[in-house]
Symmetry: C2
Subunit: 357 residues, 2 copies
């Protein structure tokens, strides 16, 4: 995406009716590791999207851009969150204006920068775009993916690339405590991966008008982190299994108790049939983790390794801070792959966790 010539040639040669742009650095903790990672995240995401916008202007101005944004652009305002725009009455006048945004990481900020750039391109060049402000995705199966094990997607559970429900499911499968960052009142929008795919299809089948920049809030339910943990615990209890919940110091800077009511009507109006989060889904994820339990690295589950205030806490983080900044960010070691298979010992892991707390 950062190779302008390649992006231009692709759009020129393909003459697409629509472009679905998911090709961005996607992790908030990654962007908070240090300056090179923050800078790389913002430059990568922003330049890639700019390259695409200019290519569309010059070679496929009628194409419909479907761009993956995030619910995290909004932050946690004390008013209802609308879908992209809000009518504001002020001193006797009113206008429909972009919803005020308060993103919570350099990654989320990069998505907001993109949103503003895309909105501008629609206004001045007449491009058409749908910005999918997506919530946290859970689940690891769609009908298509389920057809063959070779189609299995990544399942990230670590603190950099993973998401919270994945972490809870892995912890539950291994008999470890579920780890909540801070009080756990942090509330976000969530959706099933099958609904993600359905939403993209709905946007595709119902394109934005010429010059229109529109935002769909793409999630189906909102949960607090604490409520999610309790859902997992209840699911296990139904099978006679005990699960404990622990609270870790929050590595992020965020409100831990707050109002949250985000609208998500537009995709429903287009016909979305939500898959709500139920015990069946949670159980199926946990079962799938159990089948691969030997490949889980329990160290990844213990403590978050990026702190919003101080950055990456791993060894490379410290050396990078002391040394002159490299021009390119160093690769992050992600341990949630199968590179380091080892048998987790839930006894010793629990001991280590207990010592740390």
């Amino acid at each position: 995406m950062r190779d302008a010539g390649a992006v231009t040639a692709l759009v020129r040669d393909l003459q697409p009716d629509a472009v679905i742009h998911f090709a961005e650095q996607r992790s908030a903790p990654f962007s908070m590791i240090d300056l090179p990672h923050a800078s790389m995240t913002q430059v990568n995401n922003l330049v890639g999207t700019l390259n695409l916008l200019f290519a569309l202007r010059d070679h496929a101005p009628q194409a419909h851009l479907i761009k993956l944004g995030t619910m995290g652009e909004y932050g946690t305002p004390n008013i209802d969150i609308e879908e992209g725009f809000i009518v504001i009455k002020h001193n006797g006048r009113e206008d429909r204006l972009p919803f005020p945004m308060q993103p919570g990481s350099f990654y989320h900020l990069s998505k907001l920068h993109d949103s503003h750039n895309i909105q501008f391109a629609c206004r001045i060049w007449g491009l058409r775009a749908t910005d999918l402000h997506q919530g946290v995705v859970y689940g690891n199966q769609t009908d298509e993916v389920a057809m063959h094990p070779g189609l299995a997607t990544r399942f990230d559970y670590d603190a950099i690339w993973g998401t919270v429900l994945n972490r809870f499911c892995v912890q539950a499968a291994l008999g470890l405590p579920l780890t909540i960052y801070g009080k756990g009142g942090q509330t976000r929008g969530f959706l099933d991966i099958r609904d993600t795919v359905a939403c993209v299809r709905l946007a595709l089948e119902n394109p934005a008008a010429e010059g229109e920049y529109r935002v769909f809030n793409q999630f189906t339910e909102q949960f607090s982190v604490k409520a999610l943990a309790e859902k997992v615990r209840e699911g296990r209890a139904a099978h006679g299994l005990q699960t404990s919940i622990v609270h870790l110091p929050n590595p992020r800077v965020e409100r831990e108790e707050h109002y949250y009511n985000a609208k998500h009507q537009k995709l429903l109006d287009l016909g979305l049939q939500p898959h709500y989060l139920g015990e069946t889904l949670i159980e199926s994820v946990i079962e799938s983790v159990e089948r691969h339990a030997s490949r889980v690295d329990p160290v990844e589950l213990e403590q978050p390794n990026v702190d919003w205030r101080r950055g990456g806490t791993a060894g490379w983080g410290k050396t990078e801070r002391a040394a002159p900044m490299p021009s390119e960010p160093r690769p992050v070691v992600v341990l949630s792959s199968s590179r380091k298979p080892r048998q987790p010992s839930s006894a010793s892991t629990s001991t280590r966790l207990a010592q740390r707390r």
Copy 2:
């Protein structure tokens, strides 16, 4: 600013009490020339500011960052523009939120991206920052600069680096028609360069609190472009000189008639004593242009050379579009320097202008 190591070393070694950050690509038309210029503007401004934010976090977290933003971040909403934040009542609840922004160029967008990044850094790291949302500056003299001709600052009147009142003054000095883009109802905040300096000093002497991100709208009066042109014409008429006003097709995409009422109270509350735009100032700028009239390039005054829809209209713009994108933006030829002195012939220039219209 883009050399993270240099910025870090500077902040670490200097241990500043305050940092005044003006070091950004500053031209909206420059950012609209083509993709490389848009991309360079946003990456340059964003990365420079990120480098500074991390350096402040690590080496001078108590320093007060004074950052040059722009009134252009707001765009032209149909409600009063507040200073950075607005209290929004919505569905029975209320919150003080960032004012919704609608910037009008990739340059103005870069300033908005900066604003969001700075605001986030204040929130999570406790930095203190003042974002000066500055209007259009006019005038070319401060008491200090007036002390010696060698201290004279740049005076840009071309379509890339110049500002509208400068262009009108040069046109008036040469006896050329004043060129308004579109209807001329575009209204913006303006301020005298002496007030710019005073505002920075006031921000410096009254620093933001720890963790505070504040916005000062830094201008003293608002004018439409048409009203500005009429002010210049009236000033000339008082000396018995006739000045004509012409309207050119607007190269920008912007509202040409709109509501505009932007607050600018905070700097007044700190003690700003505005220099309002009067005939004396306009006359002094015109006189100063007349002294250097032989160095004016009248071609620069005729037509804007960057179009918001199509980009740069000069020859290099066309070749750049056809060829593969270079990795670095090519330099823009700025003719408002003294490199090409030639005697303007107001007769032939007027003819050319007339033919073009």
